[in-house]
């Protein structure tokens, strides 16, 4: 009996080593491209593609970063990206909060049908819509505008966020609202004064997701807005290919700048994101 117990411990220990080594191998392989890009970004632009490659820059420099944040076109595109991402985050969270509240608190005809339709919308691949969207927006003269990006990005985000916020609102006890209703507060007042303040964690997850989708989106901008005044940063990076016969030093610095806001958000909200996904799937 004692012997088998000891064997068990041995077994568990060796299992753990196996588990750790698989996970670490995977993480190592996963991080290589990013580390290599980061290391390249710190080399002088002329040395970015020199052979043999320096794995660590011998004389690290930030000149590539300085280039990116001083080149007027790139600066403009960074501003555009921030405007588009913040705008579409605020809009999508506002719209999804209204929709989510409706599903969480009202009983009405066609509720389940509407909910499955909205979730079904999440399955429609945006890619298939790029040609009609391009033709539609060109017809009404909205191509190449920041507004059209904010509006079209909504279709990427709303279905997911409605679902997420609906589930979050449902975790808030109804008693609080009933008291307010008795006091003569309107439904909208309840949403604004009670539900939203109590839902900050849920709203935070929804915002992070919305920001990530908007900041990283490449396909809709390349089709709908590729002129300099409405260029977003991801697209500006893509245009390095044609305009500057890939200057890898500058490009790798641009990549890292594009990564900063998202990585920070992901690291801050990592736990909530996994939890949010779990909670929403449990009830779905």
């Amino acid at each position: 009996m004692k012997n088998s117990y000891r064997n068990n411990i041995k077994q568990v220990l060796s299992d753990k080593w196996l588990i750790y080594s698989i996970i670490f191998t995977y993480i190592f392989i996963t991080l290589i491209p990013l580390v290599w890009v980061f290391s390249t970004s710190l080399k002088p632009n002329d040395l970015a593609i020199s052979l043999p490659p320096e794995f660590l820059p011998s004389e690290p420099t930030i000149e590539n970063y300085v280039f990116v944040i001083t080149e007027p076109r790139l600066v403009q595109s960074l501003i555009n990206s921030l405007l588009v991402s913040l705008g579409s985050t605020v809009l999508s969270v506002a719209i999804s909060a209204l929709g989510g509240y409706s599903f969480a608190r009202f009983k009405f005809k066609g509720k389940n049908l509407l909910l499955s339709i909205i979730l079904g919308f999440f399955m429609i691949p945006i890619v298939i819509n790029i040609i009609p969207l391009y033709l539609m927006l060109s017809e009404i003269g909205l191509l190449n505008s920041i507004f059209s990006l904010i509006i079209t990005f909504q279709i990427l985000i709303i279905p997911l966020n409605i679902f997420l916020l609906k589930n979050y609102f449902e975790t808030i006890p109804r008693e609080l609202e009933e008291a307010a209703l008795v006091d003569g507060c309107s439904r909208f007042g309840i949403l604004r004064r009670i539900i939203l303040p109590l839902s900050t964690p849920g709203l935070a997850i929804a915002s992070v997701l919305a920001f990530r989708f908007s900041w990283n989106e490449f396909l809709l901008p390349i089709v709908l807005a590729n002129r300099p005044d409405s260029l977003v940063f991801q697209l500006a990076l893509y245009q390095f290919i044609s305009i500057y016969r890939i200057e890898w030093g500058y490009l790798t610095a641009g990549i890292n700048i594009a990564l900063i806001p998202i990585v920070i958000l992901m690291l801050l909200f990592q736990k909530q994101l996994v939890h949010g996904l779990t909670a929403s799937s449990l009830k779905g």
């Binding site: 588990i19 750790y20 698989i22 996970i23 995977y26 993480i27 996963t30 991080l31 491209p33 990013l34 290599w36 890009v37 390249t40 593609i49 052979l51 490659p53 719209i95 209204l98 929709g99 409706s102 009202f106 009405f108 509407l114 909205i118 919308f121 399955m123 429609i124 691949p125 890619v127 819509n129 040609i131 009609p132 969207l133 391009y134 033709l135 539609m136 060109s138 509006i151 909504q154 279709i155 709303i158 990530r212 900041w215 990283n216 490449f218 396909l219 089709v223 990076l237 490009l251 990549i255 594009a258 990564l259 998202i262 990585v263 958000l265 992901m266 996904l277 779990t278 799937s281 449990l282």
Partner: protein, 296 residues
């Protein structure tokens, strides 16, 4: 009197989202059908669009490039989905074991999920380069032959699949981790008392209880892989010699490179059909498995 009236309030709250979804998602989807049955190209876009019936579909089905693109899509989807799912499931399960530091490990694993397609494409393009790419440098320095990662038409599609595995696997890890969290630990405790081995617990507890997550995950990553072309567009533009033009990229190139919007819309409709068929097949297969188990 109030009771008989329909309460419009809940519908009002839903109005903004429905308005956007219907006008920018549903309407374009249907309009695609209209465009595919008319002659719309860069030349006719500002003029009247002539109705051409099913001509665009005939043209597409007699286009050998379309079949070539279907073959490439098959490679891309099978390669991406099997690896993303296999690796994703393995890592989600490993991370769910009772080991220390899962929090930190999961954070490290999620980092690639915050990376955009543009960044993925460029990072890999940089490493794959024939002249100064780090991968060929390493291969040559350990005495192996250099590989034309993106310049060899037989290899390029697989190089992009590799980049897509890197890009997409974190989603599966995250999604299946959420699924594993939903399984009650009591079930495992009971199974351990009954003497079930690790392997048995995996196949008789984890997999069945994870089924709903697995099927949703498979549908999502399959549909995404079919429709995805960001990486191909940035890394190779569909070349060399069409060798990385999957069907979805072919749709984009038809419209925005060759100027035939109706040709692109026609391919788009076939993509929708492919998406629906595959979703249907997955649901069928998994439902049959369920009923088999119930009979036993």
């Amino acid at each position: 009197m109030q009771k008989n009236k329909i309460n419009v309030e809940p519908y009002l709250y839903l109005l903004p989202s429905l308005f956007i979804l219907v006008s920018l998602l549903l309407f374009p989807l249907l309009w695609n059908i209209y465009v595919s049955t008319h002659d719309v190209s860069i030349l006719t876009i500002l003029k009247k669009w002539d109705f051409v019936g099913l001509k665009n579909f005939y043209d597409l089905f007699s286009d050998p490039k379309f079949y070539e693109s279907l073959k490439l899509t098959l490679f891309f989807v099978v390669g991406s989905v099997s690896a993303q799912f296999g690796i994703g499931l393995l890592l989600a399960v490993l991370l769910n074991q009772q080991i220390k530091g899962t929090h930190v490990l999961r954070t490290l694993l999620i980092i690639p999920w915050s990376v955009s397609t543009v960044i993925t494409a460029f990072s890999f393009k940089f490493m794959y380069d024939d002249n100064y790419g780090i991968i060929n440098y390493v291969l040559e320095s350990i005495g192996l032959d250099a590989v034309g990662w993106l310049s060899d038409p037989n290899i390029a599609i697989w190089s992009i699949v590799l980049a897509n595995i890197w890009y997409g696997t974190p989603f599966t890890i995250l999604f299946l981790t959420a699924g594993l969290h939903s399984i009650s630990p009591h079930l495992y405790e009971a199974a351990i008392i009954d003497g079930a081995t690790k392997i048995k617990r995996f196949f008789f507890i984890t997999i069945p209880l994870l089924r709903q997550f697995i099927i949703t995950n498979l549908i999502l990553i399959t549909v995404w892989s079919i429709n995805f072309f960001d990486l191909q567009l940035i890394m190779t533009g569909g070349g060399p010699l069409f060798s990385t033009t999957t069907t979805s990229l072919y749709m984009y190139r038809e419209a925005f490179e060759f100027g035939s919007f109706s040709g692109g819309a026609t391919i788009g409709i076939l993509l929708i059909v492919m998406n629906l068929l595959l979703t249907f097949v997955y649901v069928k297969i998994f439902n049959r498995k369920t009923s088999d188990q119930n009979e036993k």
